[in-house]
């Protein structure tokens, strides 16, 4: 894969690759703990959130397009699903401040390149691929209008 990743995602990827397998899980757990709470305007409007059914555990996302076409990804997943929370948190942090075009340019298979496939299994990493896919789809829908 030759595509250049946005800086924050590249940094996250480097951080994972610098670690041994079991420490990669610890880093994923840190991400999991850092997933921000939903802004209250969405917490009160579950109808706005889209369920990512490809993930094993319930996870919901919502994409906002702000000024200058900056993407804001919001996600929520339960505490007892730390892996899914970790995946969502990586995307929330990695996409922070990116524009619509920058997010759409992220390679779809980026999650497989993160260095987590062996640690969490290829089956589970598919959940993160789906999170990214649905994020992009929401962006396309919202910018097409």
């Amino acid at each position: 894969m030759n595509e250049v990743l946005p800086e924050a995602l590249e940094q996250i990827k480097d951080d994972f690759h610098a670690l041994e397998l079991r420490d990669r899980l610890q880093l994923l757990l840190e991400f999991s703990n850092e997933l921000p709470e939903l802004p209250s305007r969405y917490a009160d409007h579950p109808d706005l959130l889209e369920r990512v059914v490809e993930c094993q555990s319930p996870v919901f996302i919502f994409v906002e397009i702000g000024d200058e076409k900056v993407v804001h990804l919001h996600a929520t997943a339960p505490r007892e699903a730390p892996t899914t929370r970790g995946f969502a948190s990586i995307l929330v942090q990695g996409l922070a401040g990116l524009t619509v075009d920058q997010v759409l340019d992220i390679p779809d298979d980026f999650p497989q390149d993160l260095g987590l496939t062996e640690a969490v299994s290829p089956l589970r990493i598919r959940g993160m691929t789906a999170l990214l896919g649905r994020t992009k789809r929401q962006i396309r829908e919202k910018t097409a209008a």
């Binding site: 899980l25 610890q26 994923l28 757990l29 999991s32 059914v53 490809e54 993930c55 094993q56 555990s57 319930p58 505490r79 007892e80 699903a81 730390p82 892996t83 899914t84 970790g86 062996e118 640690a119 969490v120 299994s121 089956l123 589970r124 598919r126 959940g127 789906a130």
Partner: protein, 299 residues
Amino acid sequence: MPIETDPSSQFSSFAHPERLVSTEWLADHLGEPGLVVVESDEDVLLYETGHIAGAVKVDWHTDLNDPVERDYIDGAAFAKLLGSKGISRDTTVVIYGDKNNWWAAYALWVFTLFGHEDVRLLDGGRAKWEAEGREYTTERESAVAVDYPVVERDDAAIRAFKDDVLAHLGNPLIDVRSPEEYTGDRTTAPAYPEEGALRAGHIPSAQSVPWARAVAENGSFKPVDELNAIYRDGAGLNDGDNVIAYCRIGERSSHTWFVLTHLLGFEGVRNYDGSWTEWGSAVRVPIVKGAEPGAVPAR
């Protein structure tokens, strides 16, 4: 030297009460030499968020499945795994996990493929341990490695393959998936990811008994009379029956295998781990759609 079994009266009516321990029993025996507690969850990170003190983690996917072929690990890999977790051949292993011990039962079944003798489930799993306000720790796993012998897996007794199921038709089959999967409305558990089956429905004549019906509200197994009502009266199983259970990839049916084998005392129960992801994509195998079990096809 196996550790004494849990004498709790709630287990005494089960066929093999020595296969269960209560949360009280485990709390009293933690740290005892000869006992290793294993956590096995659906979520690969749940152990890291907090686990029973001294417990080690075994992940169904990254530890128990072969990374290349669709099969379980071999004897050498199992020996390496268990030895690294501080488990010897004569260690008493107690397994617990999330989601009503769904994955814990799967791990127990895989341990049984290798003939590990003393392996038990914590009745109620994580949910009951937590509901009772018992403690977790986030300490890193710190098992002292020991030697575990290389024992080849014996698939014959408790594992069924597709051809075994075809030859078995006419004998009892239990489909432990959700009603929607059984009828063929969908190929995966509600709210679960697509894992690839080309056709939907169930194996002809299979009785539908979703696995979680064996579990009470607090996460522990239902008492024996309720289990008999479900599996004997409801699904028509009789003593001496040769039973195969299946689900989607063999995990939920491990739980039912445990119930039938260790709680109700059926002998020779096999788990078809290929399950729907194999059957639903195999060429020219019989499938029935709808809520009725359907007839055994003529051969």
